[in-house]
């Protein structure tokens, strides 16, 4: 159908585009600024004020100091451990739960769901959680950032709804062939629910990669700090001394600025690279999740 646009519609279209272009600039520019600043020459950056449209000079010194820093490397290793073990456990237990809750003939199904959903709205609070984690002996172990967060209730509900969409007939014919519940779950249901699994991997990975708060209260040993806690020292407490030691004070101060931006890049790029691949599943995943449990 061809539509004739009136003047009002033209103004409307222009307005919509203007607003969105402005929004894109406001969102993108701070990130570009960080990229430019991280590649800039430290001395030039420090004396510069205002917007950057390209790197000032060009220097990879900041990145060199970041990758030479043992704390960052250790942080990276700890984060990777948390990510790999954590997400594996998350997916395993969440899918078991989602599978059981998605079957209609399970005894006490409604009760389980109520008991689980309630935890989204009511919790014992921070201190009692801390005491429990202490009680089970997880303090000062990387598992403290993994085990207490095995299942994210919201993700469980999303997964359950997705599993419900798998036709029951498939499951029944598998049962006739003698498949048990594990075979049904891992050989039939999960392969058929790949979009939602992809979204879950992303959600859980972001949670693990970016998480810092519980690490900061459960871990006291600096050797165990994940990347984000090291970043907190550099970005929030403004402490880059350990990285530029040996340089003269003035030089230290200068390179400190670029190091901050370089660490931001090093810590953010991996997750930003991951998300475009899963992006097309978001709307689907969210739509499923929006259905009431």
């Amino acid at each position: 159908m061809t539509t004739r646009y009136g003047a009002g519609d033209w103004i409307f279209t222009i307005l919509v585009h203007t607003v969105l272009i402005l929004l894109v600039i406001v969102t993108l520019y701070p990130l570009l600024y960080v990229i430019f600043a991280s590649l800039s020459d430290a001395g030039q950056l420090i004396s510069h004020k205002g917007l950057l449209m390209k790197p000032l000079g060009f220097s990879l010194d900041a990145y060199k100091s970041v990758f030479d820093n043992p704390a960052i490397l250790k942080g990276y290793r700890n984060t990777l451990f948390i990510l790999v073990c954590g997400v594996t456990l998350n997916l395993l237990v969440t899918s078991l739960g989602a599978y059981v809750l998605s079957r209609k003939n399970v005894l006490w199904n409604k009760v389980f769901i109520f008991v689980i959903v309630l935890t989204m709205f009511f919790s014992g609070g921070l201190i009692p959680l801390y005491l429990v984690v202490k009680g089970v002996g997880l303090i000062d172990s990387l598992w403290a950032t993994i085990i207490p967060f095995t299942v994210n209730t919201f993700n469980l509900i999303i997964m359950r709804t997705a599993f419900q969409a798998v036709p029951e007939s498939l499951e029944e014919s598998a049962k006739m062939d003698g498949a048990n519940h594990f075979t049904i779950l891992f050989k039939i249901i999960i392969p058929l629910s790949m979009p939602v699994i992809a979204v879950m991997i992303l959600y859980y990975s972001v949670e693990k990669w970016n998480g810092w708060f519980y690490a900061s209260i459960f871990l006291k040993d600096r050797e165990l700090f994940p990347l984000q806690l090291i970043l907190r020292e550099i970005l929030i407490a403004n402490n880059t001394d350990t990285m530029s030691s040996g340089a003269a004070a003035a030089e230290q101060f200068q390179i400190g600025e670029t190091i901050k931006y370089a660490t931001i890049m090093v810590a953010s790029v991996p997750i930003l690279v991951l998300y475009p691949f899963v992006q097309k599943y978001f709307v689907k995943g969210v739509m499923i999740g929006a259905v009431k449990g």
């Binding site: 009002g8 299942v151 810590a267």
Partner: protein, 284 residues
Amino acid sequence: MMIPVIAYYVIFHYAPMYGAVIAFKEYTPIKGIIGSEWVGLRHFQDFFGSYYFWRILKNTVIISLYALCFEFPMPIILAILINELRNRKFQRFVQTVTYMPYFISLIVICGMIKDFTNSGGIINTLFTYLGFDDKAMLQKPEMFRSIYILSEIWQKIGWESIIYIAALMSIDQEQYEAARIDGASRWKQIWNITLPGILPTIVIMFILRMGNMLNVGFEKIILLYNPSTYDTADVISSFVYRKGLLEFGWSYSSAVGLFNSVINLTLLILANKISRRVSENSLW
């Protein structure tokens, strides 16, 4: 198959709920939860009577209301704007860009906020062109809430718009065509078709938001605040964190946390009830 799931919920969700009884006790690690003495409502009375009570309650409510008024509608507006784009490529581009900040960690975001709003930072420098003084904005109590809310919008607008975009996609396209034949302008189409189409989603999101009304994102607050901005920045959950984990007032802090949880649950139930009566949309 359910055993790991049940064990998880019992240990890490229901045990802490039980542990919350320390709010009514004088908890000491040596005596444990059961052995500690009951003190009844003393911690609650201490809290309600303290100088901090009104300050953190006021800050929590104000920041939540700001979030409700300014942050909540933004993703809805964005979703509608994106929906009005006819060019698919541009549509995807806007979405990709606006989702991006959501994936950046809070620590990095706060590091950027600190740097940009600092004296000599880019936001500050831009402000000096407009005639404002160059100052460390995060040291100013009167600016804390604006910085907090604006950065929230910046980080989350795209991500939170996804759910509305999903809702928009399920609106029947024929309605638009019929409206166009009747000569309705684009404004009118938004007002009469788009908005009513996503209203149920908006209501549900609103109820959920009410249930989290007092859970102001305290991780961000404890990263950004400092003693000079406590007056406007300190909220219930940051107070719980400070008193409980930094000053070891475990029982007192649990009482404050429990107070917070109970209010949240009450607000959620209330919002759900009102909504069911007014619009026939509800969570349960």
